[in-house]
Amino acid sequence: MTGNLIKYEFRSGLRYIGIIWPALIVSAALLGIVLKVMGNVFPEDPQGIMNILQLIFDLVFPLIYAAIFIAMIVITIFIVLMRFYKGLLGDEGYLMHTLPVKPWQLITSKGIVACAVVMISIVCAVISIFILIGINDINGLLYGAKEFFAVLGEEPRLILVIIEFVILAIIGTMASIYQIYAAMAIGQLTGKHRLLTSLGAYIAINIALTILATVIIVVGDTLCLDVWLSEWLWSIEASAGMNDDGFILVQAGLGAAFVAAAVQLAAFHVITERILSKKLNLI
């Protein structure tokens, strides 16, 4: 059933953003071509009519690209916020909460689709930038790629670090999305001013997390845990006969960040699930 929920959630999300992703890629390609071709075709001549045309193109195409880029960011945020708010806490909730599924399945389907939309938007943004660079300086791009793969060949452990970064980015994004969900679930507990209460809850959660992180850092610093931990990790690296390059330290840092994000994700999921299970307040 979770698969079915994801299917309908994706169809809903794609309706808003499905056209924006290819539009961004196409506009990046057009902008790249315009910048390259117009610059090559028309020589520098501020008084020439063709240069006025070039000026117009130089203004219009970047504006189109920027507008689509901004639209993608706005719609991505809209999908993250409104598909949860309207879908589970608004009138659509009368359908969704009476489907024969558990609340965690409803939340998970929204979370997975929202995370996927954010990730695809980021990938499209990166691809569009590479297209812009590639059209204008293909040699530079190819050289950069060649250098990158050469570094990977010399140090294959970087592949592991990159994969870990990607997983951490996904978990971190999910945790951020679930923080918004938890805030909205708290906000719906009040009959009136739901959005305002949600915003207040979001800020309160952020303050609580900051205080918690500060306490952990201060306690760790007071007990000199950071020094003890880094010495311990260096000794492990030395005893394993590894290069003195801090790889274990990076792994430990990534591991700690992963645990922190996963704990936040789990906590926000539990808060949201409990509220929607026990204190749902559809108006």
Partner: protein, 245 residues
């Protein structure tokens, strides 16, 4: 195995900020009946229905639907018509039929499509651009195209003209699963009393009467509408000087 009762409420209580919306409700509903849940506005009808279909948690007491507490199973046997339109604005009629087919094993798509055709609603019509009345018709089609054990219809005839009321009631009695039970909440008694087997009167969150329609008529010699008016009669405010004009 099917239980004899489709709904069983024991000591069901729901408080909202200290105000009792339901107060120690004990209610048992059998199968194969059309039951009117009747009470004035604010009497607790919608709260009771929301608890039955799992949208609300009771403060105290317990509820069993088809022998189980509200959850995935009970939601799969309840067909619920809320007093809101619940469609996502991107959907077409086809999409919502697909969705019901995916989630409810008892959804009869062929029947739903025939009902749509009889009402002149196209399967490719966008729900977003439909009038409120047409959206309500589509919701009624969805609800009545299921072979559910329990139909919970919350104010299905409120806010519609008398012709539409007749149409809605005819649709309900011609299409419900006869092994299931239909609970219709309303305060418009005269329109529905002809189709009811039993009535449940609810007042200030308390069940004040639960009886078969034939028994009430035999005992009191009055229509359900008149009995309802007697039960829920309010003393009108006659003005400061008590003039009766």
């Amino acid at each position: 195995m099917k239980t004899e009762l489709v709904v069983e409420c024991r000591d069901l209580t729901k408080n909202f900020s200290g105000v009792k919306a339901l107060d120690c409700v004990d209610l048992q509903l059998g199968r194969g009946k059309i039951i009117g849940l009747l009470g004035p506005n604010g009497s607790g009808k919608t709260t009771l229905i929301k608890i039955l279909n799992g949208l609300l948690e009771p403060t105290f007491g317990e509820v069993l639907i088809d022998g189980e507490h509200p959850g995935v199973h009970t939601k799969s046997v309840i067909s619920y018509l809320p007093d809101k339109t619940y469609f996502a604005d991107w959907m077409k009629v086809n999409d919502i039929f697909d969705m019901f087919g995916d989630f409810y094993k008892d959804f009869d798509r062929e029947k739903a499509e025939m009902m749509c055709a009889s009402m002149g609603i196209g399967l490719k019509d966008k729900l977003k651009t439909m009038s409120k009345g047409t959206k309500e018709k589509v919701q009624l089609i969805l609800v009545m195209s299921r072979r559910a054990q329990l139909y919970l219809l919350d104010e299905p005839i409120a806010g519609v003209d008398p012709a539409a009321r007749d149409y809605i009631l005819t649709t309900i009695i011609n299409n419900y699963n006869e092994e299931g039970t239909v609970v219709i909440s309303t305060h418009l008694i005269s329109d529905i009393e002809r189709i009811l087997d039993e009535v449940v009167f609810i007042k200030n969150g308390v069940i004040v009467r639960h009886e078969a329609v034939d028994d009430i008529k035999e005992k009191e010699g009055k229509s359900i509408d008149d009995v309802f008016k007697d039960t829920f009669r309010m003393v009108p405010f006659m003005g400061v000087n008590g003039y009766d004009r």
